[in-house]
């Protein structure tokens, strides 16, 4: 694409999105609609080439069957041509589950699409069970077991314990327990404030980047 044309197109789209800050308008609606369509198409193509093609079609040998001679033999070729078992044959399970998802469109047997959903939810629950427990619970607890011989360690331990007390569900926040929970709330507020303050400057730099494009790259007013 010609450089001036492409930069002008990018500038118009940039201004269109920024115009949303004033109010909803036809240019923003156009940019929004274009963004939805182009991005949906982009991700579909990406997923096809990054996931479906290499992980299913290449591994099973379907790509080679379709004429791509430079792709190595897949599991189906190994099984039917050489009588060898390959672990890649298990990707057939994923293919079958994927086809089951599509059966949603057939109302009489649409109920079968719950099987891949059950598979996904079950596997994610099992996988995250241990991952979260190790990294979020065990590691954090281990790092908080510190001697109380310094002010920082004391603050860290008090903050962590009172923060956990705040999240306690089965006891009313009253009396000493309630007071501890209130201390926990203050620590959480400090955490939120710190995250907020930390992020503000980085958000500003994003805007600086777009302003630089508009006034520098496109209009050439800033060098």
């Amino acid at each position: 694409m010609d450089s001036f044309f492409s930069h002008t197109l990018a500038a118009i789209l940039t201004i269109g999105i920024i115009s949303f800050l004033y109010k909803d308008n036809p240019l923003y609606k156009f940019c929004e609609s274009l963004f939805i369509g182009v991005s949906a198409g982009y991700w579909f193509v990406q997923q096809y080439y990054a996931n479906l093609l290499p992980k299913l079609f290449d591994n099973l040998g379907i790509t080679r069957m379709l004429g791509a001679e430079n792709v190595p033999e897949g599991a189906l070729q190994k099984l039917f041509l050489h009588g060898e078992w390959s672990e890649d044959l298990l990707y057939l399970i994923a293919g079958i589950l994927g086809v089951m998802m599509l059966l949603r469109l057939v109302s009489r047997i649409g109920w079968i699409s719950r099987w891949p959903m059950a598979f996904i939810v079950g596997s994610i629950s099992g996988l995250y069970f241990i991952t979260y427990f190790q990294s979020n619970a065990m590691r954090q607890m281990q790092n908080t077991i510190l001697p109380l011989n310094s002010f920082n360690n004391l603050v860290l331990i008090v903050g962590t314990v009172t923060g956990i007390i705040y999240f306690y569900f089965s006891k009313e926040h009253k009396g000493l327990f309630g007071a501890a929970a209130r201390v926990g709330v203050y620590f959480l507020m400090v955490t939120f404030g710190a995250s907020f303050g930390y992020t503000v400057m980085s958000r500003m730099s994003l805007l600086i980047g777009r302003v630089d494009f508009l006034f520098g790259t496109w209009l050439g007013l800033v060098k």
Binding site: Y48, N51, N70, Y128, V155
Partner: protein
């Protein structure tokens, strides 16, 4: 039976994956990795449903001359052009093994001059929204909001030259009160304490929810109410 089989699948798959963490021997040790790949493959098949839904919704709007139907034409056209440009690698090296993002290809050009500016500008809008959120948050209507406000201010100032100059005059015994030092302390001590409390809570929440799902106590995701 139709409702029982999905619950059995969830139970078996979930339990096996939990147990497989403790069993390094094949095939258990690799199950987690394999199942992640299976998910990626299923997601691409599901995308056909998503794309179909997108085309159906916008197609309906065009057909019924909905209020903003011309914009639906833009969406459908953008989606179709991008998909064709990518799947058939127009303007680049064709064939299954050709490079999708080859410079000069239509897919690459659309990505550079349409997709990227739109994405970058939406991201840049955050600067405005963070300013309006700050304005609301910093009105400090109660003690909690005051604490949030003070912590945010100190961290914000601590990362700027102005913040450094503001308290550089403090004598050495009081140097811990200098804004950059205070900001560093807040990040590494009380902020860390709060983060750890949140993370421990999240881990316990995930464990309980995962158990409810695996044991079939929670079934809403299957479109079935719990018993």
């Amino acid at each position: 039976m139709r409702r029982q089989i999905p619950l059995i699948i969830t139970f078996i798959v979930g339990s096996v994956l939990i147990i497989s963490v403790f069993i390094p021997h094949k095939p258990f040790g690799q199950l987690g990795e394999n199942f992640s790949v299976y998910f990626d493959i299923i997601a691409v098949f599901a995308f056909i449903l998503g794309a179909g839904n997108l085309l159906r919704v916008h197609g309906n709007r065009i057909y019924r001359k909905h209020k903003d139907w011309p914009y639906s034409v833009v969406t459908v056209a953008g989606f179709t052009v991008m998909m064709i440009a990518g799947l058939f690698k127009i303007g680049g090296s064709p064939g299954i093994t050709g490079d999708l993002t080859e410079p000069g290809s239509m897919f690459e050009e659309l990505y550079m001059y349409v997709f990227t500016p739109l994405m970058a500008t939406m991201f840049a809008l955050l600067a405005f929204f963070v300013a309006s959120a700050s304005h609301r948050a910093f009105r400090a209507k109660n003690k909690e909001a005051t604490v949030l406000l003070l912590a945010a201010f100190v961290i914000l100032l601590g990362r700027t030259p102005f913040g450094v100059k503001l308290t550089s005059w403090l004598p050495d015994p009081l140097s811990f009160l200098e804004i950059p030092n205070l900001a560093s302390w807040i990040m590494s001590v009380p902020n860390m304490a709060g983060q750890r409390a949140i993370m421990v809570g999240i881990a316990l929440g995930v464990i309980a929810m995962a158990l409810r799902v695996i044991l079939g106590v929670e079934r809403t995701y299957l479109g079935a109410d719990s018993e």
